[in-house]
């Protein structure tokens, strides 16, 4: 564990007093926490607690009514999702949001779009610098494909893939952007143990090899407790706990609101 602790650096992103409401529904109320560089942070909480909304706020899809977010030292209240992407935030989604009509490879390549710069005239020619650029990124995409062990479905349209593989491709797409902050919304939902093991391994490897900071939402406590450095717990839009897995596991409020007695 100690090597992990060393790894963790300064605050990468700080959420301060964020509140978000939809009509009468308060999805988030005055939530504050921070994500530190290189850590794996888990966000847990009952259904409808506001976890996904929190990620949406972080990457600019929802605009909070109140509060601010400081990312890499810049404070902001609002931004468009594509700006968030440009500053190095990538994510996956709770309900898979892959581009269904495209192949696995193309999906991963879209993750790299921000890094491609040839203008469209070159693209139209598909030759010279454009081709070279395309090939560079293809290689990067292939590295991710190898990493995630999805070589065999490279050319398959993702719409036809089974759920678990889709989740993996989605992770691949997020990784392709080489993000500084990776947000994962229930990456392991709908997987069996074996696949969860694989997924955990990927997440840990990403963290180790690329030093990417990861915030993940997950309902499988086994996974959360095993792989996260820190856990925060939301309930009804409020943060009710924040600490190491062990601290959180013992917290009566958390047991009450989320874990249930049997755990």
């Amino acid at each position: 564990m100690s090597e992990t602790r060393d790894r963790i650096g300064d605050t990468l992103l700080a959420v301060e007093n964020v509140s978000l409401a939809f009509g009468g529904v308060r999805a988030l109320s005055e939530v504050s926490f921070e994500i530190r560089e290189h850590e794996i942070l888990a966000i847990i909480g009952p259904n409808g607690a506001g976890k996904s909304s929190m990620l949406n706020v972080i990457n600019g899809f929802y605009h909070p009514q109140d509060g601010a977010i400081t990312y890499k030292g810049n404070k902001r209240k609002q931004m468009r999702p594509h700006h968030a992407a440009a500053t190095g935030i990538a994510r996956t989604f709770q309900n898979i949001a892959l581009f269904k009509g495209m192949s696995t490879l193309d999906n991963i390549m879209t993750g790299r779009l921000l890094k491609m710069h040839r203008n469209f005239l070159w693209q139209a020619l598909y030759w010279g610098p454009a081709l070279r650029e395309e090939m560079e990124h293809r290689e990067a995409a292939e590295r991710i494909i190898d990493f995630l062990e999805i070589q065999s479905i490279r050319k398959t349209p993702v719409g036809r893939l089974p759920y678990g593989l889709q989740k993996r491709v989605e992770l691949g797409r997020a990784l392709a952007a080489e993000p500084d902050l990776l947000l994962l919304d229930e990456p392991m939902a709908g997987m069996n143990v074996e696949e969860k093991e694989d997924m955990c391994r990927f997440i840990l490897d990403v963290s180790d090899e690329f030093g990417t900071t990861i915030a993940l939402i997950e309902h499988d406590m086994g996974v959360v407790m095993d792989i996260s450095d820190r856990v925060i717990v939301l309930d009804y839009g409020r943060k009710i706990a924040d600490g190491t897995p062990d601290e959180v596991r013992g917290n009566p409020a958390v047991i009450d609101a989320y874990l249930g007695v049997s755990h």
Partner: protein
């Protein structure tokens, strides 16, 4: 592979001692005229039973359930071989509407709530086939709300704006509203908080005990599934590779390793899973 297990292929009697209410005989399913997904699946579910359908992603669980509830055609899939019987009657050519009337309803994977309808309206659509009057429907609505109090809070919200878990509850509640004899549950626990997962399985058990509803559930949460089911089938690559009592299955070494994440030394941490572990498969 343990000797306690029978390798079934078309061996239907292996199900349960009670009368089978659902019989699937050697079905083959093809999507898009070319993609062969199920390669002769047989299973049977006893009346009042809870049967789990286990298997990795893409094994064909969903496809099997859809074949039973006749939702395949809407996806350009087709049952090309085999038969499906419910309560002694062949149902593979019935419309989903007829099936629901006969008491078979499916809760689809991935929620599929009606986005623009409110939660309550969603639940009410479940009662579409019923003809037993408003009062009875109202009563069942209340019952669903007692199973899922969260839904009551959100009853007037459009389903499209509720959280993933809330939608899952809504989908299950909607199925309950049809007063089914048999529910085909596709990954009910996906995306639910642990407390609720337990809640859902308890609900399943209660419905099974108190109202005699039969369940066939496809589930990734093998742990839970085997805890509540009486019988289980393991599907791989479109074939049933293993079936048996839930207990027997749970004790099987391979199942333990691949589906329960247990090794000889007990549950191992996700952190310690070895790299480059390759899957072992019953079928190549």
């Amino acid at each position: 592979m343990s000797d306690a297990l029978t390798l079934t292929r078309g061996d239907r009697s292996a199900g349960d001692d009670r009368r089978p209410i659902l019989q699937v005989n050697n079905i083959e399913v093809i999507y898009d005229h070319v993609i062969l997904v199920l390669k002769g699946v047989s299973l049977s579910v006893a009346e009042g039973g809870i049967v789990a359908l286990l298997g990795a992603n893409g094994a064909g669980k969903t496809t099997t359930l859809k074949a039973i509830s006749n939702l395949l055609r809407a996806e350009r899939g087709d049952v090309t071989k085999g038969t499906i019987e419910f309560a002694g009657e062949r149902v593979d050519r019935l419309s989903p509407y007829e099936l629901v009337k006969r008491g078979v309803i499916q809760v689809m994977e991935g929620r599929h709530c009606f986005e623009h309808l409110t939660i309550e309206e969603n639940l009410l659509t479940g009662a579409y086939t019923r003809r037993d009057g408003r009062a009875a429907i109202q009563q069942d609505l209340e019952k669903v709300y007692t199973y899922f109090p969260r839904l009551k809070e959100r009853r007037a919200s459009q389903a499209g704006y509720t959280s993933g878990g809330e939608q899952q509850m809504c989908a299950i509640g909607r199925a309950l509203m049809s007063r089914p004899k048999m529910i085909l549950l596709d990954e009910p626990s996906m995306g639910l908080a642990p407390q609720l997962v337990e809640g859902i399985f308890e609900t399943v058990k209660r419905l099974n005990d108190e109202e005699g509803v039969t369940f066939l559930l496809a589930e990734q949460n093998t742990n839970m599934a085997l805890k509540y089911a009486r019988y289980g089938y393991i599907l791989e690559n479109g074939r049933v590779v293993l079936d048996g009592d839930a207990k027997t299955l749970a004790d099987n070494e391979d199942v333990k390793e691949f589906y329960l994440g247990l090794s000889a030394s007990g549950r191992k941490s996700y952190r310690d899973v070895k790299h480059y572990k390759r899957r072992k498969r019953w079928l190549a």
